[in-house]
């Protein structure tokens, strides 16, 4: 593993969204708080977490679709965001390397553009040399890569089913031949029988084009299936990260443990025999996150220390990172 190249490095990334509360007073939603990690070239890093934990914001701030508040993002050795500097490098040249597939395919495709125009739009910007026949051929080739055909280029997005729309979204991301794709809940809007088609396609594309994925989803079974490594987020922070088998079989953080135990298995005997740690209460507001460890309000193992000090992000086993006080005391 150590010889593998780190394609993307994220250091202490923060994203606060300002909201108005009262006259002259501003408050911040701490969507992403001090997240650091890296992605190896050619791997899939999965990010799981519940709604509002900041996983989508994390994905978007890496691509600078939303500007991070502070921290650093290094892509392939080049700093593409540095919170300490005033001016940031222009993203346009990097866009051919980094792309995104969005969650809701019907909302992310322009209803007034044909599929050919949608897929070809990025080509017009990044590949102005492609004209006429070559341009059209490239679009057809892209549509075929995702299992559609050239006739579909003249149709509009509403003529397609959800699964096909997502394929169009993927074709659009692939148009500029990126190395790195952020997949933001790419299958959660799809029907069960279609989800596996798209998952398999993403895996095939990865093998064929040597892609690197940041795969964001709330469904840990899907993330477990596609990812080499998994990061678990809670309320804007990364709480645990490890190789995916390791994480699912030996979860360290109490939140990961309860998350795994909460997933119902499609197997009546197993799922009913499963020991559950059911978390009390709800996720606190990211506007006023709890002090200390952000999970302490719901944690079954919380102590006084957890309420006062935030735990450190440490490597507890080779490649297995977590942030929890319980792990320090050796219990």
């Amino acid at each position: 593993m150590s010889e593998m190249k780190k394609l993307l490095e994220v250091e202490h990334l923060r994203k606060y969204f300002p909201i108005k509360s009262g006259f002259f007073k501003k408050e911040y939603v701490q969507a992403v708080e001090d997240v650091s990690f890296f992605i190896y070239e050619g791997e899939t890093l999965g990010i799981v977490g519940e709604s509002g934990c900041g996983k989508t914001t994390l994905g978007r701030s890496i691509l600078r679709l939303v500007e991070p508040s502070s921290g650093r993002v290094i892509y392939d050795g080049e700093t593409i965001f540095d919170g300490e500097k005033k001016s940031q490098p222009a993203m346009l040249p990097y866009r051919t390397n980094m792309q995104i597939v969005f969650q809701d395919p019907s909302a992310s495709l322009d209803p007034r553009m044909t599929v050919g125009e949608i897929v070809g739009e990025a080509l017009m910007v990044h590949r102005p040399d492609l004209k006429g026949k070559a341009y059209r051929e490239r679009i057809n080739e892209l549509l075929e890569t995702v299992g559609l055909n050239s006739e579909h280029a003249n149709r509009f997005p509403h003529e397609f089913s959800g699964g096909q729309q997502q394929r169009i979204g993927i074709a659009r991301a692939l148009a500029v031949e990126p190395e790195f794709i952020v997949c933001d809940e790419p299958i959660s809007a799809l029907d069960v029988s279609i989800q596996s088609q798209v998952v398999n396609m993403l895996e095939d594309l990865q093998a064929e084009k040597h892609l690197t994925y940041l795969f964001i989803a709330h469904d840990i079974s899907v993330v477990r299936h596609v990812s080499n490594r998994i990061g678990v987020m809670y309320l804007g922070q990364m709480v645990e990260m490890a190789e995916s088998y390791e994480l699912c079989s030996r979860p360290m953080h109490p939140y990961t443990q309860s998350l795994l135990s909460a997933v119902p298995l499609p197997d009546p005997d197993k799922t009913r025999a499963k020991k559950r740690t059911i978390l009390e209460g709800d996720v606190p507001s990211p506007l006023h996150p709890p002090t200390g460890c952000r999970f302490h309000t719901r944690c079954p193992r919380a102590t006084e220390k957890c309420a006062q000090y935030a735990p450190e992000w440490k490597e507890y086993a080779p490649g297995h990172f977590a942030a929890c006080h319980c792990l320090d005391e050796g219990n």
């Binding site: 596996s196 398999n200 998350l259 909460a262 009913r272």
Partner: protein
């Protein structure tokens, strides 16, 4: 409630050859196309299917909430010996809420934002029982909120839905549905909008309440994990038809219909030991405006035969304990068995 928990389970609901169509400007959509099943008292039946398989429409027609242009065009729904489809508006109102009630996917759209939660809970009760006084209704509402695990119930009664979190709202919805002690609860994707940890809480709560009250539940979902968790029996729907039905054990451990088998195979599992490639169901979901002639699943089926494309398969017994499946393969197997 108490008096019938001891009795042997009786048929509570009997749906026979129910047909529901939507008359849209572009043509008739057969959302539910001749389904039959029955539900015993205290039974938890799961209805699984993809979006557009007719699972919600079927449930809405039981409770008389089908909206135009949807129309029940055939069949019968017999609840406790009476055909619900023959009820007039007033009788339906009494039936709804009192005997059968429903919880929905998105609690925010079902709670009225301008009334307090307490107000809405009490309304549900007083609507069905005019003799109940305000004080009594209040007490009962508080009791219900406590039952569904809402702390500070008295204080919560005076709050508005927006002051509740997603999981809390779903709890309040459950309290509202159960306040008249219905015999049957229809839960339409009650946990789909919730996070897994909250989903686990709600499932635990529903299992608990079901045990306490002994009501029957029809649980509509697309999540097979949730079905495995809570249901006794499962109906698998595809394109408005029940393609397979059986006990939860039969459906998960010996599925008979190719669609059920395909669904189970295509799901990634969190407990998988090594990376196995998923086996998807190929093709796209049916277009209900132009459904295929024979078996609706035929065009996507890996075992598709000539007859499948021409004729609809009959629902056949494929095992004990009311395990039925609609597939021409079973007919073929039977014929082969007879020849030998």
């Amino acid at each position: 409630m108490e008096n019938n928990t001891m009795k042997a389970a009786e048929k509570l609901l009997e749906v026979k050859d129910l047909k529901v169509s939507f008359y849209t400007p572009v043509g008739e959509v057969k959302a539910v196309d001749g389904i039959s099943y029955d539900l015993k008292e205290h039974e938890v039946m799961g209805i699984v299917g993809e979006s557009g398989s007719g699972k919600s429409v079927e449930a809405y027609s039981i409770i008389g909430l089908l909206q135009s242009p949807g129309k029940v065009i055939g069949g019968s729904i017999v609840f406790d010996g009476e055909n619900v489809l023959e009820y007039d508006e007033e009788k339906m109102r009494q039936f709804r809420g009192n005997k059968v009630s429903m919880i929905f996917q998105n609690p925010m759209t079902c709670l009225n934002p301008v009334y307090t939660v307490g107000n809405q809970l009490m309304e549900a009760l007083t609507c069905h029982n005019r003799e109940i006084g305000r004080k009594e209704a209040w007490d009962r509402a508080v009791e219900m909120l406590k039952l569904v695990g809402i702390n500070n119930a008295e204080k919560r009664m005076a709050q508005y839905p927006h002051e509740f979190s997603g999981g809390m709202r779903q709890r309040a919805m459950i309290a509202m549905a159960l306040i008249c002690s219905p015999k049957l609860l229809i839960a339409d994707e009650p946990t789909t909008a919730l996070d897994v940890t909250i989903q686990a809480q709600i499932l635990e709560l529903m299992k608990d309440i079901q045990k306490k009250t002994g009501m029957a539940i029809i649980f509509i979902t697309h999540n097979l994990g949730v079905v495995a968790e809570i249901c006794d029996r499962v109906s698998v729907m595809y394109a408005g038809q029940i393609v397979e039905q059986g006990s939860v054990q039969d459906i998960f451990y010996s599925p008979a219909h190719p669609y059920t088998r395909g669904l189970l195979r295509s799901m990634p599992r969190v407990d998988e030991l090594e990376h196995e490639r998923l086996i998807p169901i190929e093709g796209t979901p049916v277009d209900l405006l132009n459904p295929p002639a024979g078996c609706a699943f035929g065009p996507r089926c890996e075992n598709c035969m000539k007859i499948c494309l021409a004729h609809r398969p009959p629902l056949l017994d494929v095992g004990e304990d009311r395990h039925v499946s609609a597939c021409w393969l079973h007919v073929k197997e039977m014929k082969e068995a007879q020849q030998e």
